[in-house]
Assembly symmetry: C2
Homo-oligomer: 259 residues x 2
Amino acid sequence: MKHSLFSGGKRFRAVLVVESAKVFGGRAEDVLPTACAVEYIHTYSLIHDDLPAIDNDDLRRGVSTCHVAFGEDIAILAGDALYSEAFRLISTLQKANDPQSIIQVIRELATASGVSGMVGGQVVDIQSEGKTVDEETLRFIHEKKTGELIKASVRSGAILACASNRELEVLTDYATNLGLAFQITDDVLDIVGDTAILGKTAGSDARRGKVTYPAVFGLKKSEEMAKIMVDRAKDALKRLNRNTDTLADLADFVYERRF
Amino acid sequence: MKHSLFSGGKRFRAVLVVESAKVFGGRAEDVLPTACAVEYIHTYSLIHDDLPAIDNDDLRRGVSTCHVAFGEDIAILAGDALYSEAFRLISTLQKANDPQSIIQVIRELATASGVSGMVGGQVVDIQSEGKTVDEETLRFIHEKKTGELIKASVRSGAILACASNRELEVLTDYATNLGLAFQITDDVLDIVGDTAILGKTAGSDARRGKVTYPAVFGLKKSEEMAKIMVDRAKDALKRLNRNTDTLADLADFVYERRF
């Protein structure tokens, strides 16, 4: 658990929880249990995705994947344990004015990581390997596999900071575009990126016949699509009468990142 | 998910949630989301335990294990998804007079299934295979791997039905003894049981060099120990000024069961 959790990573989803809360007057320290929980869930998903039976990856965040370091049995269980710790953390340490908002955060994260989110996307991704898929399926995989947890991270921070339903809708629009842009950039980086900077083996999508935006639309068109989604994400923020500069910067980061 | 969830099983943990709630005036229909969630968690743990990298079992509840039926990748993800559905179910459908009790139930189940519960026990179990362990380690494995979720099931039903802290303590005493008796009986049934009735392959513990009560104490002593724990569980119930007949019957069932 420690090996995978503390080997680095951008902490992008945790930052989203914190920055989203700040937009509505929340403080970082008030949402840290949920921010950490989101990183636990993300790390658990990476450990399981990297397993020999799934993506069979050796390198992650610049170090050996969990199963290479500790064996497949321990890696499965380390992932399982990180996932349970996420819910333990929120249900034990997360405070809120209204306990219903804690239950709502748990619902957001359980849904985003489950069969109608991350796992669902991963299953369709596996079943699509080596096949030609239409744009709708490709978008489904990316939205579920990556987008839902990014959306839940943004929403959870806002929920804990008592954002209104209308504000949550705007943030959902922001996060949906952000999540899709994030995964398209991931696809692009798998082609143009550097293994040493990425911390994971570049070129592995193509080797496995994964369905990706560059595979369907080409590299240039994919980069343009990511840019359009980043702009849409930033446009959505303008509908909030709040200081959303950092959320806008994070959208730019998604497009400009090299890892 | 459906294959493993609906292939049968005793639904012992779900029954514990319901019957424990009933002791304090709760109705079955009021705690069904949590009762189902506990079965989801139990089934998820069976799917992952049965994986080739862990116990490598082919048969469960009288049908092929999930990975035999659908492949290792889908089995890992089916387990993951059942686990997430458990928390989604509680956070979406479980109602309570006090929302804090829903958060407490999530905390109980996340803790019982995580690194300080089920997963922790499973790791020590794996690391102890083929070794000689002392009674303390054996008890640790059984309490964590099996006992904690049984305890959390009993407690969750009672929490949702607004049991007092003193009543919860008594139930915890009942459930601790019940859980240990349950796992000792499981060890015994692996030796004396019938594969057709068990629904899983008898004799697999010995084949894998698993640490079990019969391996350490012999069959007869193990059965006596299970009986003592069942009696202790029933004795604990007498400290409640409530109708606990069904919980007492469930303790007898644990000792008398043949599957």
